[in-house]
């Protein structure tokens, strides 16, 4: 029976060898132990002996050829035996080789995947020279509303350092900063082409940040929104009660509808910890406390500061803290740590004041969900059997990441929010 002669594998790193010299030629008789050919790797040269005796029936590679290891290089057998089946150049054996080299192929496929390109945004909205400024000074300038373009740095090589910003802040601001910080130093809009009926304005940094965050949110998660409404009669009753007490001076805090909804949501989150989470791709971060993000519309753009440990607060405490946080966000002196999407475990965005009836809020990734609170509209409802009346209903829009939560869970959570609102 004809037996193929394999190119041996000399060590794991060797994928192919070069044939040096054939000592036997086709048709010659060989005995076991005869040296058939020599071959080399990048490290050394070797000689291959015949493992069996017979006639050298075929040679598939010439001297100097590079041959993948474990490939048939020759056939030894008895005169007249067919050798085509062993020829690695023929189709049938090629398939075998491809099968045997499966791992190699897979590797090359992986290599072909194009590398990830990370593009850096270049800040080109700063006219003139590059400003040398320390990271600390930069964030201080943003907070204190100091225009760094006009600052002269006193640090090494003229770097603007924290003390320069601090000094400038003292000089520049005789009156407390009420106006949003960025407004005063906003660079003049650049008109790129004259005579046209538009002008191209560069966008602010915070706009860029929001743009990136929102875009990434929609790109990197599977968002969908459920809408549901809750009977708002109890809510309005509570609101009236607090309003009266506030007017009467019994409490120091004017508790708003938003505060009450937030309070209800926190209670619901306590029952549905899977919603009070961050979705991190391969894991979920389950928060033991509720850190409530509150979307605040400011003149500088949308900000979502987090209220830490919101579940520890009473309704009046919650009201006070939310009010404080929203005010800080509007004046721009909120702790930047609280603005990071990682700081909140769940976010509420309330557009009810603006009369919005239904909307699809965008999740603040990595958070798992966001609740949109809509306006209160009177809707017909069966009050008792067969009797319908108009009942004020508040709209609730829950956007959730379907990667993290399933529809059933999300719906049950939203229903819980409804129940909490109806039973405040």
């Amino acid at each position: 029976m004809a037996i193929p002669v394999l190119m041996p594998r000399q060590g794991q790193s060797v994928e192919s060898c070069i044939i040096g010299q054939w000592y036997k030629s086709v048709g010659e008789e060989v005995s076991e132990g005869d040296i058939l050919f020599s071959y080399e790797t990048d490290k050394a040269s070797f000689e291959e002996e015949a493992k069996s005796g017979g006639i050298l029936l075929a040679i598939f590679f010439e001297e100097g050829d590079e041959v993948p290891v474990l490939t048939n290089v020759a056939v030894i057998g008895e005169k007249g035996e067919a050798v085509d089946a062993f020829d690695p150049h023929s189709d049938s054996t090629n398939k075998d080789i491809a099968g045997g080299g499966g791992t190699v192929e897979r590797e090359s496929v992986e290599k072909e995947e194009s590398p990830k390109v990370i593009e850096f945004e270049v800040e080109d909205d700063v006219p003139g020279k590059r400003v040398r400024i320390s990271p600390l000074a930069k964030s201080m300038a943003e907070q204190l509303g100091v225009n760094i373009q006009q600052l002269k740095g006193s640090g090494p090589r003229g770097r603007i350092i924290a003390r320069d910003v601090k000094n400038a802040a003292v000089q520049v601001q005789p009156e407390p900063v009420q106006k949003p910080a960025v407004q005063s130093p906003a660079p003049k809009p650049q008109v790129l082409a004259s005579g046209v009926d538009f002008e191209v304005k560069s966008i602010s940094n915070i706009r860029k940040l929001i743009a990136t965050a929102m875009h990434q949110s929609l790109q990197n998660s599977a968002q969908l929104t459920h809408h549901l409404s809750a009977d708002a009669r109890q809510l309005l009753k509570m609101r009236k009660k607090y309003k009266d007490e506030f007017s009467a001076g019994n409490i120091s805090q004017n508790v708003t509808i938003n505060d009450l909804v937030c309070y209800a949501v926190i209670r619901a989150l306590e029952k549905f910890p899977q919603v009070n989470t961050h979705y991190l791709g391969d894991k979920m971060k389950w928060y033991k406390k509720v850190h409530l993000g509150l979307a605040v519309d400011t003149e500088r753009g949308l900000m979502v500061p987090a209220l830490q440990n919101a579940d520890d607060l009473s309704i009046t405490g919650l009201s006070y803290q939310l009010q404080l946080l929203a005010a800080q966000a509007r004046t721009g002196n909120v702790n930047p740590d609280l603005l990071s999407p990682e700081a909140a475990s769940f976010t509420i965005s309330n557009l009810g004041n603006y009369g919005v009836e239904i909307f699809t809020p965008v999740i603040n990734l990595p958070q798992t969900a966001i609740l949109g609170v809509c306006t209160i509209i009177p809707r017909p409802k069966e009050i008792e059997e067969g009797v319908y009346g108009f009942v004020p209903m508040i709209g609730l829009s829950l956007t959730y990441n379907h990667q993290a939560l399933d529809g059933g869970e999300a719906t049950r959570f939203l229903a819980e929010v409804r129940d909490q609102i109806e039973n405040l």
Partner: protein
């Protein structure tokens, strides 16, 4: 330098000459017929069987490596396989007489030894013990694949277990003996007395000595065999191990039942090649490796050469040499002559030897020869031997199938459990004592002269008026280290300490003063000047279950123990799959004043190697607390001490250094001075220069510096430092190491990443210059000084009004120095 040994010039100056005893070479000449009275038929057959098992196991690996299949089972093994085909008689002969309690250590070429010793142990263990061993190992994970469908005896199951555990380990399977983390060159299984094999040539040459030391000091039964190659006899650590093993003090100074030599056989598996170099005739000059014994001690290590192609000759030698060890006359050196047909590795073309040479040895193949002899002597039928061979082939085939089946023998799931290996780097245990017996001491601790002396010392540096006490009255850093160590000596009976002049002298820096009085020789002794062996033996000692404090007298000598500190000590916990613990605390003293080779801070070298914990305390309170924590743990700790401050008192911890036991957790930096304008983070003794800098800044420039002492390098919790930077916005990192590639640079880079938004300037590193350390008189130009720190703050962080710096810390200078490489 014991006083009991008087070096009399009249004696040692007398003329005379040394006599050597003849070293036997291949003296064994018994026939099988003659040996019939010494071996049962079963034993003869077991010898044959074990050799066949090893041959088939390695033949299988050879085929897998070179042809990608065995018995038509295809497999791709990308890892190493250094085979010992041809050496089977030497391995089986070595292991045959050994008991389960005897330990073997090996090399990169030790598959045969693992199997030989494993099979030998299996034959000596009863079913109950075998079952318990197999079930206990990783809670039966290694056993499960072989037990499924097994019908034979427990011993047969154990053989399958041995073959499977070894092969799965070679193939990096989680079910292997070491969870696949050791692999071919490191596989081992301690319950059968198989201790780590070593991919560094000669790596076992000193580790095994430590194992023998453990057996002796802790009165454990059994001997230790170091299987190392003929070429490893050129390695420094092997010579150091031999020097350590043959110290006179074992017989001259150790007392009572401790008197006597180590229970150790250095077994040279002499296959006559080191890679492609021929040890006899080319790369060595000993001609016969047994000759080395004559150079080491009076007994010539009882050295002899044995014919390793005859298993009975090797067994005969072991029977005789074990007796010598029982009589406490060890250690022994055996030169077991053998030959490998396979190359160094499958990629070795054997271009350095003649085909005829390999054939000549194959013609005398020990398995074929021994089989024929058994048949000739009427001990076995040909058919019986054939049955052994074919059964073995079946066994190996089944084992291979199991070991490559991804279902039953998976690799570690690193995707699902990405920290699996990370979790094994340290054992992180808290263990008072490694054994329960009463610690051997010379007197109650309170009677110790040093302990009594310390009772009178001031444990805080200043009196109530803030005036420092005199040096002689002050409890110093060296006292803190001493208290932690003596406390552990009285708690943990396995604890031993050694290094250069640890006994009598009490260490070059008087840390151990008083320990000599408290401890017998076998717990505290002077080692040869052999840093490799000092650390290497400690590794072997710890591997076997002891706790040990080796000392490196100067940090600069750490290089002398490079392989031990960088390749052995940090690796064995994880490479064993967490089977081994490594409670070794290496004390390393960092010098100054003594120039270029005695003044270097090499903390970065230790911190760079994964698997070592690294601490560098700078106050007595921290030194005692960290030493306590290091000694309570089960991980290797490199404990740096600075010679500049051995005599410093405690100036931070209110109430002074507590008398009782307390631990300071490794990895937590500590604020030594609070401040608000800049943070100065220091490593080691630089702390005190940073405090001087802080005083200058405060007094002259009203600039408030917070000073943090890193205390530990590995692990390191950045929280405290990041919080400080959030407060100050600025940081300088200082230490006595040459700045380039130092741990300071690592700290700076991490802080930049972790606190970037809070930084008012890049972190600045103020380390030593990238030069030789000059003489003491010029040291202030080399090591960081208080003024350097102030200069660096002024030039790189925040210019100080009215300040003019003396040193150049500008970017130009930094560029220039780097461009020049200095």
């Amino acid at each position: 330098m014991p006083k009991v040994q008087f070096i009399n010039p009249d004696d040692v100056r007398k003329p005379s000459q040394l006599e050597f005893n003849p070293i036997p070479i291949n003296q064994y000449n018994k026939t099988i017929e003659e040996e019939k009275k010494n071996f049962s038929r079963e034993e003869f057959l077991r010898i044959y069987n074990d050799m066949v098992v090893i041959r088939e196991f390695e033949t299988m690996l050879n085929l897998i490596k070179t042809r990608g299949e065995y018995n038509e089972i295809p497999y791709n093994h990308p890892g190493p396989a250094h085979l010992s085909i041809g050496q089977e008689a030497a391995a089986v002969g070595m292991a045959f007489t050994l008991g389960v309690e005897d330990f073997i250590f090996g090399s990169h070429r030790s598959h045969g030894e693992i199997l030989a010793k494993g099979l030998s142990a299996i034959s000596k263990l009863n079913d109950e013990m075998l079952e318990s061993i197999m079930k206990k190992h990783f809670n039966g994970i290694t056993l499960a694949p072989v037990v499924a469908g097994h019908t034979g005896t427990t011993q047969e199951l154990a053989v399958k277990f041995l073959l499977y555990g070894t092969l799965a380990e070679i193939f990096a399977r989680e079910t292997g003996f070491n969870r696949g983390l050791g692999g071919s060159m490191h596989a081992f299984f301690t319950p059968f007395g198989v201790y780590p094999n070593n991919a560094i040539v000669g790596g076992s040459g000193d580790i095994s000595v430590g194992a023998a030391l453990y057996k002796k000091v802790n009165r454990k039964e059994g001997i230790v065999v170091a299987n190392i190659g003929d070429a490893s006899m050129a390695c420094g650590p092997v010579w150091e191990g031999l020097a350590f093993a043959t110290m006179d003090q074992f017989t001259e100074l150790w007392e009572g039942d401790m008197k006597g030599g180590l229970p150790l056989i250095i077994n040279i598996m002499n296959n006559q090649y080191g890679m492609g170099g021929q040890t006899c005739g080319e790369t060595m000059g000993y001609e016969v490796a047994a000759r080395i014994g004559a150079g080491l001690n009076k007994d010539q290590m009882h050295a002899e050469r044995v014919d390793g192609y005859n298993p009975l000759a090797v067994i005969d030698a072991y029977r005789r040499k074990k007796k010598i060890l029982q009589e406490k006359r060890g250690p022994v050196l055996l030169d077991v002559l053998t030959y490998r047909y396979s190359g160094h590795s499958p990629s070795d073309a054997s271009s350095y030897r003649l085909k005829e040479e390999v054939e000549a040895w194959e013609n005398q193949d020990s398995i074929v020869w021994f089989g024929n002899e058994l048949v000739k002597a009427g001990i076995a039928q040909k058919e019986e031997l054939e049955a052994i061979r074919s059964n073995t082939a079946d066994l190996i085939t089944t084992t291979l199938k199991l070991a490559i089946d991804d279902e039953v023998s998976p690799h570690m799931d690193m995707r699902k459990y990405p920290n699996l290996i990370g979790d094994m780097m340290f054992s992180n245990q808290s263990v008072d004592r490694m054994d329960d017996r009463e610690p051997e001491v010379n007197h109650p601790m309170e009677e110790n002269p040093r302990v009594k002396q310390l009772a009178g010392k001031e444990r805080f540096m200043f009196d109530e008026n803030g005036k420092p006490y005199s040096k002689i009255k002050t409890y110093a850093l060296r006292d803190g280290i001493f208290e932690a160590i003596i406390d552990r000596f009285y708690k943990d009976p396995t604890l031993i300490a050694y290094g250069e002049e640890n006994r009598d002298w009490g260490g070059a820096f008087a840390v151990y003063r008083g320990l000599t009085e408290a401890l017998p020789y076998n717990r505290l002794f002077n080692s040869p000047i052999a840093e490799g062996a000092i650390v290497g033996t400690a590794i072997g000692y710890a591997m076997c279950g002891g706790r040990v404090i080796p000392e490196i007298m100067y940090c600069d000598f750490l290089g002398r123990s490079g392989d031990e500190v960088f390749n052995q000590l940090p690796k064995w916990q994880a490479m064993s799959g967490n089977v081994l613990k490594m409670p070794v605390v290496i004390r390393v003293s960092v010098g100054s004043k003594y120039g270029a080779q005695h003044s270097q801070d090499w903390t970065a070298l230790a911190a760079h190697i994964p698997g070592l914990k690294v601490v560098f305390p700078a106050t007595p309170y921290d030194a005692k607390g960290l030493m306590n924590a290091a000694l309570q743990g089960t991980d290797p700790v490199v404990f740096f001490e600075s010679q500049r401050i051995y005599d410093i008192g405690e100036m931070f911890h209110q109430g002074g250094v507590p008398e009782g036991y307390y631990e300071i957790p490794l990895g937590e930096p500590d604020i030594k001075r609070e401040g608000s304008d800049v943070t100065i983070l220091t490593i080691g003794a630089t702390l005190y220069r940073a405090l001087d800098a802080a005083r200058i800044l405060q007094d002259k420039y009203n600039f408030s510096a917070e000073v943090i002492d890193a205390r530990s390098l590995v692990p390191f919790n950045y929280d405290l430092v990041v919080e400080s930077v959030k407060k100050t916005g600025r940081i300088v990192i200082s230490g006595d190491a040459s700045a380039r590639g130092s741990f300071m640079r690592d700290l700076a880079s991490n802080i930049t990443e972790l606190a970037f938004d809070y930084l008012d300037a890049p972190p600045v590193v103020v380390g030593s210059r990238n030069w030789i350390t000059p003489a003491h008189e010029l040291e202030d130009y080399f090591f960081p000084q208080p003024e350097w720190i102030v200069d660096a703050i002024h030039e790189r962080i925040v210019p100080i009004p009215g300040y003019s710096p003396e040193n150049d810390f500008t970017e130009e200078e930094q560029l220039d120095r780097n461009a020049k490489g200095v």
